[in-house]
Symmetry: C2
Subunit: 216 residues, 2 copies
C-alpha cells in the first residue's frame, strides 16, 4: 500500500492543487500544514527538503518501506494528476494541460510581485503601482488566453471533455485573484462561469466548504 | 506519418531543448527560425499563435491532415521527451525530471532580469547590480540543488541512469550562463564535468558543432 504525505504551509498557495487532486480522487493522504508564521519550524524542516522548498510530496511504499520525495508544486501536481487520471486523456491533451499550467506560472511571476508587496506591508501607493504597472497587464494577457481556450471548448473545461488539474489550478488562482481585487467576476463572465463550475465539482464541494479561509 | 514543425526565434533560448530532443531521437522536423530582429515577421506570426508566444510545435498527421499546435516551451519539451523516451523511466523519475525543469524555470525568472538589462543596453553599473543582487544569489541556490542531485546519482545524469530532457535543459542553460560570465567552469568542477558529458553526447555532437553560435 502506498501512503502519501503532502507537506506545505497553512495556506492554499502552491500546495492547494495537490490537496484538491487527493480529494477529487478520493485518495487518503496526510495533509501536513506548517504554520506560515512559525519560522523556526520551517527553517528546521527546510534542511531536510530535497530543494530547500515546499511543497514536497512523500510517497511511502508501506511494504518495502521505500520512500520517495518529490519537490516542486507542478511536478507534484502533474504526478498526482497522472496517477489519478486528471492529467488529460491523450499525450496531446496532456501537453495542452501542461501549457496552461506553464501560462499560469508565467503569470504567477507578476502576481508574486504584488503578494510580496502586500506581505511586506509596502505603502498603498507602492501596492497600487505594482497592481497597475505589473499585475494588470500580465493579467490581461493571461485572461485573454484562458477565455480563448474556454470559448473554443464546449465542455466548459479548459482542455478536453473532463476536469483536469489545469482547471483546478486556474480556478484556485481565480479565487486568489478575486481576493486580491484583480479578478472581478461581474466584469469577466466567461471566467466567472468557469470558476463557478469548478467550485461546484461534486466531489470537491464539501472540501471547499470546510477548508479554512486563506487569502493566498 | 506525423510531421513536426518547431517555430521559434533564431536563438537557442526556449526552443533549443526541443531541437535537441529531435536530434537525439533522430527524428526529422522542420526547424523554423524567426529572425529575432525582424519585428514585423514576429508581430504577423504572433496573431496566429495559440498563446501569442513562441516556441510552438505543430504536429501534422499527414494522413488525416489533422494539425495540433502546442505552445509553451516546457509543455513542448515534455511532450517530445515522452514521445521519444527521454522523460524518465518511471512516473517517479518523470516527476523528478519535471521538478528539475521547474527549478530551472524558477531560476530563469532571475536570469531574465539580467538578459533584459543586457538586451536593452543598460549601463554597466546597472548590469553589474542585477548580476550581484539578483542573479548571483539565485544562481547559488540553483547550483546547490543541481550539485546535490549529481553527487547523489552515480550515472552522471541528473535523474536516473540515462539522459533525460532535464539534462539537456540544464546543460543548455550552463552554456548560456558560461557566456554571461555567471557559470565559471573552473570554479564548479561538478557542473563542469556534467556539462562536458552532455555536450559530448554522441548523437548530439555533430549538431552542437554545426549549429550557429548564440549567446542566449
Amino acid at each position: 500500500m502506498i501512503q502519501y504525505k503532502l507537506i506545505y504551509f497553512d495556506v492554499r498557495g502552491l500546495g492547494e492543487v495537490s490537496r484538491q487532486l487527493f480529494h477529487l480522487a478520493g485518495c487518503e493522504f496526510e495533509d501536513v500544514k506548517i504554520p506560515r508564521n512559525d519560522e523556526q519550524a520551517w527553517l528546521e524542516l527546510k534542511k531536510s527538503t530535497p530543494f530547500g522548498q515546499l511543497p514536497i510530496l512523500k510517497i511511502l511504499d508501506a511494504e518495502s518501506q521505500n520512500e520517495i520525495e518529490i519537490p516542486q508544486s507542478s511536478a507534484i501536481g502533474r504526478y498526482l494528476a497522472n496517477q489519478f487520471g486528471y492529467a488529460g486523456k491523450t499525450p496531446e491533451e496532456k501537453a495542452m494541460v501542461d501549457a496552461v499550467i506553464d501560462q499560469f506560472k508565467d503569470f504567477l511571476v507578476s502576481q508574486k510581485r504584488l503578494t510580496l508587496a502586500v506581505r511586506t506591508k509596502k505603502s498603498e501607493e507602492e501596492i497600487n503601482r505594482v497592481k497597475e504597472d505589473i499585475v494588470t497587464p500580465a493579467k490581461d494577457t493571461y485572461f485573454k488566453i484562458l477565455k480563448k481556450l474556454l470559448e473554443n471548448n464546449s465542455s466548459g473545461f479548459l482542455v478536453g471533455n473532463d476536469i483536469t488539474w489545469a482547471d483546478l489550478q486556474i480556478s484556485d488562482n481565480l479565487t486568489t485573484l478575486d481576493g486580491l481585487g484583480i479578478f472581478v467576476p461581474s466584469e469577466e463572465p466567461i471566467l466567472a462561469k468557469f470558476h463557478e463550475k469548478i467550485m461546484n465539482t461534486p466531489s470537491l464541494k464539501t472540501y471547499f466548504e470546510q477548508r479554512p479561509a486563506s487569502l493566498l
